[in-house]
Point group: C2
Chain length 150, copies 2
DNA sequence: CATGATAATAAGAATTATTCCTAATTGAGA
DNA sequence: TCTCAATTAGGAATAATTCTTATTATCATG
């Protein structure tokens, strides 16, 4: 992502925090920045290490607290398979995921066909859907290769 | 599920174990039975408690070990949101899930439309897809009610 | 049916991810 | 500037899952 886009997103984020009554702290800004800077759907520890380069005294708890808070307010989202640690996604435009069941790699993809799928009536009876998301599980190219060797 | 169906599935399971070289132990059979007996996508502790009624000395470790082993061999599957403990699903026919982000309730649904979705070419470049699964997240009817009260 | 190899088990310890606790600090409105 | 609720760092606590080890059970084979 280009640095001009980052700057723009940080501005939008700051406005969102104001609107939501969240204080704009150095830690919060850097945590958000670390999430949107990567396409890797990082986990909390990975975010922690990135932020630590800029704020050496940051605590892991602060990272968790903010990631969860931002997710609660819909500024980032929590993704990933249930077998692993939490993974965070700064890309809030609707999209889908390919997830490798072996190494945990998660890649984005889009699908116009899936974009406007009708949600079955049956589902509305369960409750209020908020998001619809296609999860393709499998082996990534790298893991497929390494498993062939065995 | 009718008891005749359960019996049939246990027979099929037993054959699958033989084919895979897995020993047919009392614990393994009861763990599998507990998973297929419910539509609730139970977690490991819940399976543990059900099995304990029939095998009081069962250990939680044995439950985990078997659930993971059976999942590895494709006899059951692991589902659920990444924020929670592992949830297991004995229904191996293709289907989709509605998941409540608040209480963790997971309900099955089918969709002929989704059944034969084309997987985008882009995705095949990431690796070998094994399963395609639609995840609808939202608030279940019960949680929606209780959150209105606040 | 008895036996031996080996897979599987129970129990509890260990590990890991995540959350909680508390005292100190800080952002932002008055 | 002053005030105070929100936020933080650091460490302790918790909860889910996995590991270790001694014991037991399954099942192929004789
Ligand atoms: Mn994504
Ligand atoms: Mn299901
Ligand atoms: Zn992989
Ligand atoms: Zn619910």
């Amino acid at each position: 992502m280009k640095s001009v886009d980052i700057t723009h997103r940080l501005n939008v984020f700051q406005e969102a925090c104001e609107r939501l009554g969240l204080k704009i702290t150095h830690q919060r800004m850097e945590i958000y920045r670390a999430v949107i800077m990567t396409e890797n759907h990082p986990d909390a520890v990975s975010v922690y290490h990135r932020v630590k380069k800029r704020i050496p005294m940051i605590s892991l708890d602060t990272v968790y607290r903010n990631l969860k808070l931002l997710a609660k307010h819909g500024l980032i989202s929590i993704v990933g398979l249930s077998q692993e640690s939490l993974r965070f996604d700064g890309n809030m435009t609707p999209h889908h995921h390919f997830a490798c069941v072996k190494c945990g790699m998660i890649r984005d993809f889009n699908s116009p066909a899936i974009g406007h799928l009708p949600i079955p009536e049956e589902v509305k009876g369960f409750g209020s859907p908020v998001s619809v998301h296609l999860e393709v599980k499998g082996l990534c190219a790298t893991c497929k290769k390494s498993s062939r060797r065995n």
